[in-house]
Amino acid sequence: MNHRMNRWARIAPVAVLGVSLAVTGCAAPGGQATAATKPDTGPINIASISPQSGQFSSLGAWELKGVKLAVAEVNAAGGINGRKLEISVMDDQGDPTVATNLARKAVSDGAVFVFGSAMSGNTLAMAPILAGAKIPEITSGSSPKLATTGSKFLFLNSPPSTVFDQTLANYLVDTKAYKSIAMISNNGSYGKGEHDAFLAALAAKGVTPVANQVVTPDQKDFSSALTSIGQKKPQVLFIGAEEVESGLIAKQARQLGITAIIAGGAPLGTPVYLNTAGVKVAEGSIVSTPYLGNDTDAKTIKFAADYQKAYGEAPEFHGAKAYDGAEIVIKALLATNGAGGAKLAEAIRAVKYVGLVGTFAFDQTGIGVHATTIAIITNGKQIAVK
């Protein structure tokens, strides 16, 4: 008896495997998951994928505030022809691989549109998945690489670094006639974009930077890079890095006796840069930005007031461009009557919109805004240069 039981026990796994395989042979799994046709009524699902935790979480927080403000406004006004917009907030933790997982999740959840990511690298990672699923996305990233993916579904709510840095180079070299310019940038997606764009803009003017140091995005001590920059006694120090790192670089540069004027892109115009560097260090920094402040025209004043009311704080560039992005999507969704896919992408490309960060007119690469302004930080505020 016992012996027979044992034999059966040995056969059991094989038998079960056989049965399982037979079942498998009959039908492949996952067939039912395709063609999840959503009804044309009920809420419209859009996803926001951005860092909500980790060292870049402030970017995600700003992004979400801007988006939520615009969505709340449209929902209060009756939504998209009666259908409310629902945002599912997903945290990519600043990790591009997590972002790819979340993009898959958004696809599986049937999102018609994705906001994000606020980080260029994460956006680049998600782009093929969202393009494959025909889901349009608007990123807050500004790496020039974003315009080279060839995806018809990827849009930028900000000018790319090439625009920022062309404007900046024009001002520094043509207007101010600075010749001795040093560069420091990180090798992350954003910093690499800044590095390449600014270097190219200088090269076109026949200027070679006196120093060109590269650091990593999570570096905190720049004394050696700054020491070799200090040796060259540059007139201008260009910083191509995110807010916190820009602030640290500026602060440490002053501690090492570097008196050069600090110049850079949008990060230098944010309160985080001001806090990190300190108001004294930040004074006189030259910023190339499409968003000058919360009181430049009626639109920004209203936006700043609404933002202040909703969140109890003043908005800055990131929140403003996220708001613009959301406004554009809302317009496009109204045009398609809530439909997504290629139709929505075409509708977004067709939107003409004067926003907080500039005039939007998307080209084939997904870039909407094509100009920035030069401002100088004075008493902690960005003052436009005439």
Binding site: D221, S223, S224, T227, T276
Partner: protein, 289 residues
């Protein structure tokens, strides 16, 4: 030459901080026999507390630091109570347990203070001292002075006071120590509190030169621990020399290899300890059965 000196100055400034972190490892190891992988996280917590006092409540820097050291020492007492069962267990369990605790502290810090971190203004002004063509940040001098004083005080405590000697006896043989009347639990609690205070000192001092965020752990903890091993684990002289050596190695690697500095630093560190596993001054052995 100028670049060389300037890099050296920068390396010594950071080296002094690594040395303080290494001292904390050393103290806890010498007096408790505990290899505390969460030490860097405690330094991070100390840095946050110091920053909170300094920026939010606008206390003078020295007062903020002193308060942070006391608060972190109290936090240390709590941590020691939780980790007490780990003491006198095998090194592997200690290592894993304290790594786990470090993860907890990092998450807690992110929940309490947010994940983006905060910048700390330098308490002595940003104008550097300019001599012989090199710039010496004033704050670096503060770090070096504080580290030197802390080292001397710690050394006097461990080797010249009865209490300190008794505490080391505990790590050597806690049964023997109990037999001669040392209360092991109290001794360990005090040792850990002092270690936590030292961590807060290191973290708080690092605040104005680095940036206070949950990732401070990675920069302080791992390099501080590596510095302790480089100098000779459990050895005070080793902690100081190891810390300075690591800071200088790091600074020159950053100068020569830019972004690749960590790669170069850690590969060089691995190579040195492969040749000399007990570090520059040899491990001050804690004999355990």
């Amino acid at each position: 030459m100028q670049i060389f000196l300037q890099t050296l100055i920068g390396g010594i400034g950071f080296g002094a901080i690594y040395a303080l972190v290494a001292l904390g490892f050393t103290l806890v190891y010498r007096t408790m026999g505990l290899v505390n992988f969460a030490h860097g996280d405690i330094a991070m917590v100390g840095a946050y507390i110091a920053t909170t006092f300094y920026i939010s409540t606008k206390l003078p820097f020295a007062v903020a630091m002193a308060s942070a050291i006391i608060c972190t020492a109290v936090v240390g007492l709590v941590i020691e109570r939780v980790l007490r069962p780990l003491e006198n267990k095998d090194f592997d369990l200690m290592l894993i347990g304290t790594i786990g605790f470090g993860i907890v502290l990092e998450a807690l810090a992110a929940l309490i203070w947010g994940a983006t971190g905060s910048a700390v203004p330098s308490p002595v002004g940003t104008q550097p001292i300019h001599i012989l063509g090199i710039y010496i940040p004033k704050y670096d001098l503060v770090i070096i002075a504080v580290a030197a004083v802390a080292t001397v005080v710690l050394w006097l405590f461990l080797d010249r006071t009865k209490r300190g000697i008794a505490m080391q006896a505990v790590a050597m043989d806690h049964e023997e120590a109990t037999a001669i009347g040392v209360h092991v639990g109290n001794s360990n609690a005090i040792a850990f509190a002092i270690g936590a205070g030292l961590a807060a000192l290191a973290g708080g001092l690092a605040g104005p030169v680095l940036y206070v965020s949950p990732t401070l752990t990675a920069s302080l903890g791992i390099k501080g621990f590596a510095a302790a091993i480089l100098g000779g684990f459990g050895n005070i002289k080793g902690a100081i020399v190891g810390g300075l050596a690591f800071g200088i190695l790091d600074a020159f690697a950053a100068g020569q290899f830019q972004g690749y500095s960590e790669l170069v630093t850690f590969v060089a560190f691995a190579a040195v300890v492969i040749v000399r596993p007990t570090g520059i001054f040899g491990e001050s052995t804690v004999n355990r059965a």
